[in-house]
Symmetry: D2
Subunit: 242 residues, 4 copies
Amino acid sequence: MIRVTVWNEHRHEQQDPAIAAVYPQGIHGQIASFLQTAGFITRTATLDEPEHGLTQAVLNETDVLIWWGHIAHHEVADSVVERIQQRVLKGMGLIVLHSGHMSKIFKKLMGTSCDLKWREAKEQERIFVIDPTHDIVKGIPESFMLEKEEMYGEHFDIPAPDETLLLSWFAGGNVFRSGITYKRGNGRIFYFQPGHESYPTYYHPHIQTIICNGVTYCAPRGNSYPVYGNEKNIYPITGAVK
Amino acid sequence: MIRVTVWNEHRHEQQDPAIAAVYPQGIHGQIASFLQTAGFITRTATLDEPEHGLTQAVLNETDVLIWWGHIAHHEVADSVVERIQQRVLKGMGLIVLHSGHMSKIFKKLMGTSCDLKWREAKEQERIFVIDPTHDIVKGIPESFMLEKEEMYGEHFDIPAPDETLLLSWFAGGNVFRSGITYKRGNGRIFYFQPGHESYPTYYHPHIQTIICNGVTYCAPRGNSYPVYGNEKNIYPITGAVK
Amino acid sequence: MIRVTVWNEHRHEQQDPAIAAVYPQGIHGQIASFLQTAGFITRTATLDEPEHGLTQAVLNETDVLIWWGHIAHHEVADSVVERIQQRVLKGMGLIVLHSGHMSKIFKKLMGTSCDLKWREAKEQERIFVIDPTHDIVKGIPESFMLEKEEMYGEHFDIPAPDETLLLSWFAGGNVFRSGITYKRGNGRIFYFQPGHESYPTYYHPHIQTIICNGVTYCAPRGNSYPVYGNEKNIYPITGAVK
Amino acid sequence: MIRVTVWNEHRHEQQDPAIAAVYPQGIHGQIASFLQTAGFITRTATLDEPEHGLTQAVLNETDVLIWWGHIAHHEVADSVVERIQQRVLKGMGLIVLHSGHMSKIFKKLMGTSCDLKWREAKEQERIFVIDPTHDIVKGIPESFMLEKEEMYGEHFDIPAPDETLLLSWFAGGNVFRSGITYKRGNGRIFYFQPGHESYPTYYHPHIQTIICNGVTYCAPRGNSYPVYGNEKNIYPITGAVK
């Protein structure tokens, strides 16, 4: 049984009634809801809880952490970010959603600015699968349309992804690498672009399927963590033939 | 001085006056023209010449081969395809343009169907640079528009590219990996999507710059070809410690 | 339940009593044996059967094909190779073992010579995991020793792998990318180097675990195969702004 | 003309006469020496200079920064590390040598621990080219031996490299990805493993060639830096067809 912690900044929903109307239980509540239905052991955590709800104990019991943040990235304590990074390197999966691309944890794991182009225009987004045999796109058609999403466009300042699963087309004239994976240490990372706070993206069945598949994909395999440091030679060191 | 051979099927131009009007010297003639201006040693070859103009002698004197084909892929002799593949593996660069994605040589080097979606609709294409520091995009803005191009869309059935330089947006609702590179043996390969026969794509300055940069990028470095086969041990084979 | 077909050339075992002594049921028999124990539905096929035992019907019922060949690559019919390639592109997994690197099917899917350096010297091989969170290395320590193997050494003339899981050290002074994956079309491919015919490699528990994991990893996900060809525009094609 | 700054911690040479005997001008002095001979505009900088010799002005005039550090990584000011990262993202090349794998700047750009196995045993290292057509290995044979080097061994906790150029074999029983590249933002990064302070590695002609090639490879192309942030739609946003 995979244990998921859904983290949400949870500010938009408290500040803007229109957004609260879309996500009455918060974005985290909606994501947790469909993850529970899918059979995952799910809890939530938010920015304003002590230690942002991400104590060492919580992280130790988390197989996959989902991250949604936007207007308060700078309020996330560096010590908590450091703690998350260490857990990822030791094997915890991490799914970064939408505006989480500018979160401290994503930038720390990527080493780049993670910046991009954007536009809020109730714009159609068409998502294409370009890695059709990947676990994360199981059950997804070769393309599908979101009726309105925030445009995120290239150039996206990220390291070359280990895998590029999804590319998105936006009606106003932009493209984006909208589903990508990385490994860092023993941890697997999935960045997935859809999910603007004022649109009902996380109610969409394909979006839910992709996030559920992502959780399974990012969950630790129980593989052993490598040993680093000094190592004795296993073979005698003599001169080379020649 | 880099020696380029521009190969063109050269059938559309002879069969359709409208296309001949766009490319009076043939597509190969137009490409050779701007390559010569850029300082490359350039020759051309076409399907209806003996051995398609690609004798062993010609290939031996070619640093980079450019390939444009469409309606007569099946007329290209397997023996010539084999000869090209061997030259690529030994270090000759190969640039495959537009409908060349279905050529025998590209499919042979990729191992996949190389199939895709397409549409002829005088459609706007917007090309985005996603690898901004790559040699091939030097001098190119972060995006630019072609007023009309044939739509080539995902899914494109290719191996995961070594590098993805360019992504394209099409007005009608599609995206495409329009500039990608591979290495095969000692050879470098660049696939570049624009160039429908009835549109004046190869007169566009950015398209010309990208192809010129591609030639420089794909040209052999003069690196030595590896030695394969049996090799003596350089170190004494004794038992491992413990 | 994953259905595996283990294909073996099966010539060494019939020609050399010393090899028959190592693999009395043939290399295919030994591999099939531990796969069956692991719970896979397993059958075998060999070169000298009609159509090499790989009729269209057999391939249609195969989720993952395992390939061991060495001295008779040239006897494999091109029509069967073509049939296998088509099945891989449609989603069948393929595991290529040891000297299968020079098989027609592997070379056809790679597009390169697939050549390498080699030495038969009863040589220690030490295998290192370099992608510790990969599914294929689940249950494998960070390194382990084979007491004797054939040396396969770089340069290995392959496309840059999608994933490099394992690197090998050989006592006599060579290194090798000994566990690598590729995707081609909807199919997953795993090449794994150990398995010289005169050494008892396929009795080694870690080797068995890696091959079993490889079968699970390469098995088709049931994802839909993309549609290629002409596609209508989903969005109206008008002129771009400005 | 490419402008190189060679940065060295410069502690070993001042603390240990045996190391000073190998590098009387410091490791930085020896590296700068062969770079100057090769025609690069070269300066040096060391830890104990104000701002470690890496003021904003110096970095602004640096095309490629070379980094050697070992026992004093923690003494490098975070503000200088931040400054270097920003310059890399804007296009400055970075070559990290040997024990620089644990430097703050390399870890910050990688997002991982960058840890590895090691052994000091005057051990033979054999370096193999596995990307034979790469610019960085131009003029290098397919393999060569260093008579003594510090063993650096897998697992090396790094992101999957964009390119793996070199693999190393160590006599005592280890392998290592010894030459790798990454891009971060507009900057190119080359990590190259040889160069223990007590061995004369930087006098070896092939090592010098690889570092010189690395400088040329990592130098900025003068490509434009992408624009991030809000962007207007270029195409009218209307409803999708159907």
